[in-house]
């Protein structure tokens, strides 16, 4: 029962399944995974993220989030100082002191993440032991987990993967005979979760849970009856950890655009034995709405060329959506990391001959980008304004992680994220 066949009739004459990928090493202009805290702390409302790292780590997070004025931020950094490095103070004692100080200030916190960083990894501070020690100390009130947010290991959105994976081992185990349950994995905007839930219910799939939950104590049980549907492409370790506990993964592309969303929902429908008529009825109205909104966006985007710098691992599904549903030309699709298995269906749907790259040498990639002079460049904020000033139109990539883009009713919004810079450039030029 752990293998579910993929039923969606995606006609792909090969696509990019076996396409060669340019692998590059050099300067990576990407975020480190600590950035994930910025959205995760808003998703899990009673969780706190304590980074154990340097002043650089603290500076990174506040530079990204500090434009919001917080009465009470739900993240902080325990800054390692020279005493810790020289071994003059016992790092574990220090950490306990900091955590106690923090929990005294924030008694309402139910889940505390100790987040590792490059410095804490390099000096081999054992945060997993610290987490279990502190968990035992605060057993009745707070669970303490740990994951690595270090930039030497991973990139940007992989922070969510590491965070969610760290939550898996403490999830309760479902009854062996428990009914099948659908578990949607990956942070989604609340409104998107609600939409998906309605559609699943209309199909007759009643038992649907989301992971991560909105509150830490809302613990979903995992077992052989659990069917995983990944909502985000960057969750390799989380998926593996959940599968190791008996859950089975439903293979699907990612729910971006009409095609992606339909296939994604279909994957669940097949696993839960939903009749074709019922599936069609559930998706008919939202599909029609999405089609209408995409047709407007297509006027701006069709035939335009686009170049993706690596950022979030969302690049391939986005490129698939933009090329197949909006008619954009893909010049290069860069991704920080390519997980072939999770991306298999997405790759199959990419136009044949798409130039794929994994990793980065930012200067060489900029050279390629300038030579091609695309109509639109998807890149990080470190590159966006400089490229704009060179006359290129950019779409800053991080916004795609902070915006509701999944599902039918967001397909138009997703397309609009790409039309907006083009429209703006036209309007300001006029």
């Amino acid at each position: 029962m752990s293998v579910v066949s993929f039923p969606v009739p995606v006609t792909t004459a090969g696509g990019c399944s076996d396409a060669p990928v340019l692998r590059e090493r050099g300067q990576h202009e990407v975020f480190c995974v600590l950035t994930g805290i910025i959205w995760l702390h808003r998703k899990i409302q009673d969780a706190f993220f304590l980074v154990v790292g340097s002043r650089t780590c603290a500076h990174l997070i506040q530079s990204a989030a500090g434009v919001m004025i917080f009465a009470e931020p739900r993240f902080a950094t325990a800054i390692i100082d020279e005493r810790d490095l020289a071994g003059l103070s016992d790092a574990n004692t220090e950490l306990d002191r900091v955590v106690n100080q923090l929990l005294a200030r924030r008694p309402e916190i139910k889940l505390l993440f100790l987040v590792g960083s490059c410095p804490s990894e390099v000096i081999k501070l054992d945060l997993s032991r610290a987490a279990s020690r502190l968990s035992a100390q605060h057993a009745s009130n707070v669970r303490v987990l740990n994951y690595s947010g270090s930039g030497i290991e991973t990139t940007f959105t992989q922070g969510e993967d590491a965070c969610l994976a760290s939550m898996v081992p403490v999830l309760p185990t479902a009854d062996v005979n428990a009914a099948q349950e659908l578990l949607v994995v990956g942070t989604l905007a609340d409104v998107v979760e609600d939409q998906f839930l309605r559609i699943f219910h209309q199909m007759g799939i009643e038992r649907v849970r989301f992971f991560p939950p909105r509150r830490a104590d809302d613990q979903v049980a995992i077992g052989p009856g659990t069917r995983l549907l990944l909502a985000q492409p960057f969750l390799a370790d989380t998926a593996k950890a959940l599968q190791a506990r008996g859950a089975s993964l439903l293979p699907a592309p990612f729910p971006l655009g009409i095609e992606g969303t339909t296939a994604w929902l279909q994957s669940a429908a097949t696993a839960f034995g939903v009749a074709k008529e019922r599936f069609d009825a559930a998706v008919a109205a939202p599909t029609a709405r999405a089609t209408a909104s995409l047709s407007r966006a297509k006027l701006h985007l069709e035939g335009k060329s686009i170049f993706f710098f690596p950022d979030s691992q969302l690049e391939i599904p986005l490129a698939r959506f933009l090329s197949r549903e909006l008619g954009m030309k893909l010049l290069e699709v860069g991704t920080p990391y390519l997980h072939r298995q999770h991306m298999a269906m997405e790759l199959a749907m990419l136009p044949e001959g798409t130039f794929l790259s994994e990793g980065q040498h930012v200067e060489k990639q900029l050279d390629r980008c300038r030579a091609l002079h695309p109509d639109m460049v998807v890149c990080g904020l470190g590159l966006a304004n400089p490229l704009e000033s060179e006359g290129m139109t950019t779409k800053w990539a991080i916004e795609l992680v902070f915006t509701p883009i999944q599902g039918f009713d967001q397909a138009g919004d997703l397309a609009e994220l790409f039309t907006r810079p083009l429209v703006r450039r036209m309007r300001l030029a006029a």
């Binding site: 002043r55 902080a76 900091v98 470190g382």
Partner: protein
């Protein structure tokens, strides 16, 4: 380890980036792990620069740690030189690279590049951003400035100076520079070199072609100015021209160094701020209680303006710049307060809660604190966010700077008429005592007296069940300072009877906290256990006399 909700300064290599990015033809090769490129965003997003910072990162990863990270660094340095052909290079390490000890300076020497290479030693676990900027600028000046006899001197009858300090990501450096440059030029002083902002290595080479230096930001330029004084005998200015009075003093100081008559320049000086502060509309600003925090330079200057030019009462002053603690302590003496020298956000929060000011002049971080406590706040110093790199001309320095300060600081305060009417009539559905000032769009103040009183009561709430003031759950910052305040724990706090509590509510929110505190202090000192309306007024009369 230090628990840090917000940090006032970045790591020292960010300071080095601020120098490299401010300058032209300088490239910085930074040994750093993947992800440290976030710092580029400070410049491209917060300061909205149109170019990428001239920084190459080695972005090593975990798998490189087993291999040759030194070779990785050499490759990055060689490629950066070939691609960008800088006239001088900076090389250094970020915090993680410091741990693996690859010695970027030595490695780069081996490359034998045909330009000056300045190796930076920036101890990330001891020092911070401003120190990093200061050290980097100093190293560049030391390595590049030529002695007077090796440069071609400009033949000019006018006195010449350098302007030192303006950098990338500096709070209003762009407009301060414009303002001061104009002020100096109008006085008849020629500008030799402005550095680091927009200076090239060649510009640094001819620093000696000036009689004196104007230091705008000591945090960045003092070290270099001192070296230039020792090396080339260039005196440098000590007055920071923030505020009308300070600007006038600055003009006098410059005139003296340049051998000019200051009165000519001063007679033309125009400051609307001075008149605005004298006009009767500003009378209600008298004795408003203000807390000042920021880098040392801005904090000291702002406190002076607040006290002498706005008529505020400075109830607290502090800085996160430990290097300049002495200056801030000196300034604190002027106002009879104790300086707070700390970069611990929680400590500053506790102090503000305790002092219960009516206005906070601080950094982006104090905006978080002020929001939590419901106190009006204006920004006077870095760290700042994108809204404080404005498009419009908005210097802090010079006479126009004084005008900007007046507008910025008065804006968050409730305007006079509204303040009067709220003091007279209560219970209005729209203009009530807990509403934010209507010229700011209204909304509800989180604060109120409870926030401040929590400081006084928290120590006793655990020991005294009779304390009638419920401490709101979100106000528990002072709990972190338990050590400091624990001494009061044995004192039972006076309880408020219902009538007194109601009477207290009639005091406008921005002074209510102080009234509550004074009354409680008054009651405790006299052994009164239950505060009545009478006690409230007795205390009011007592404190208004003293």
């Amino acid at each position: 380890m230090q628990l840090t909700l917000w940090t006032y300064e970045g790591p020292p290599h960010v300071g080095a980036m601020r120098i490299a990015t401010a300058m032209e033809d300088v490239h910085y090769v930074l040994h750093a792990p993947q992800g440290d490129t976030y710092a580029d965003l400070l410049f491209t997003m917060i300061e909205r620069l149109q170019k990428r910072p001239p920084v190459t990162y080695t972005t090593f990863q975990a798998r490189d740690l087993g291999g040759d990270t030194a070779e990785l660094f050499k490759t990055a340095a060689r490629e950066a030189f070939e691609r960008f052909s800088p006239k001088a290079m900076l090389v250094g390490a970020s915090c993680t690279a410091e741990l693996i000890q690859d010695d970027p300076g030595g490695l780069c020497k081996a490359l034998n590049l045909p330009v000056p290479v300045v190796a930076l030693e920036l101890p990330s676990y001891q020092r911070k951003e401003n120190w990093g900027a200061s050290e980097t600028f100093y190293q560049l000046v030391r390595n590049l400035a030529l002695p007077a006899d090796q440069i071609e001197k400009t033949q000019s009858s006018k006195p010449r100076c350098n302007i030192l300090g303006p950098a990338a990501l500096g709070f209003r450096h762009r407009d301060d520079l414009t303002e001061i440059r104009k002020l100096l030029t109008d006085m008849g002083v020629e500008i030799n070199v402005v550095a680091p902002l927009s200076a090239t290595p060649a510009d640094l080479a001819r620093l000696a072609d000036a009689q004196f230096n104007v230091v705008l930001y000591p945090e960045i330029a003092n070290l270099s100015a001192q070296w230039l004084q020792r090396q080339f005998g260039q005196a440098f200015t000590k007055t920071i021209p923030i505020g009308t009075t300070a600007t006038r003093n600055f003009v006098r100081e410059v005139a003296q160094l340049a051998g000019l008559d200051p009165e000519v320049a001063l007679s033309k000086a125009e400051s609307r701020a001075a008149w605005y502060a004298r006009s009767v509309d500003s009378t209600y600003l008298t004795n408003k209680r203000v807390f000042v925090f920021g880098d040392a330079t801005h904090a000291v200057a702002a406190a002076k303006v607040a006290a002498e030019e706005m008529g505020f009462t400075v109830v607290g002053i502090g800085t996160y710049s430990r290097e300049f603690a002495r200056e801030v302590r000196e300034a604190a003496k002027l106002y009879g307060v104790e300086a707070l020298i700390s970069d611990d956000y929680l400590e500053i929060e506790a102090r503000i809660a305790e002092l219960n000011p009516e206005l906070v002049l601080g950094t982006q971080m104090e905006r978080h604190i002020a929001k939590r406590l419901g106190v009006p706040c204006a920004v006077i110093s870095a760290p700042v966010h994108v809204q404080d790199f404005p498009a419009r001309y908005s210097p802090q320095m010079g006479f126009e700077g004084a005008n900007v300060l007046f507008d910025t600081w008065v804006h968050p305060l409730m305007m006079g008429l509204e303040e009067h009417l709220i003091g007279m009539f209560r219970g209005d559905s729209e203009f009530h005592e807990d509403a934010a000032p209507s010229h700011l769009g209204g909304g509800v103040h989180v604060q109120t007296a409870q926030a401040a009183s929590a400081v006084a009561t928290f120590a006793s709430t655990s020991t005294s069940a009779s304390a009638s003031t419920p401490v709101p759950e979100q106000i528990n910052a002072p709990a972190l300072n338990q050590g400091a305040s624990q001494t009061n724990a044995s004192i039972l706090i006076a309880a408020w009877d219902a009538g007194a509590e109601k009477e207290l509510k009639k005091i406008p929110f921005f002074v209510r906290g102080k009234a509550r505190r004074n009354t409680e202090k008054y009651a405790i000192e006299r052994g009164v256990t239950l505060i009545t309306t009478e006690t409230l007024y007795e205390s009011k009369a007592y404190y208004s006399q003293s």
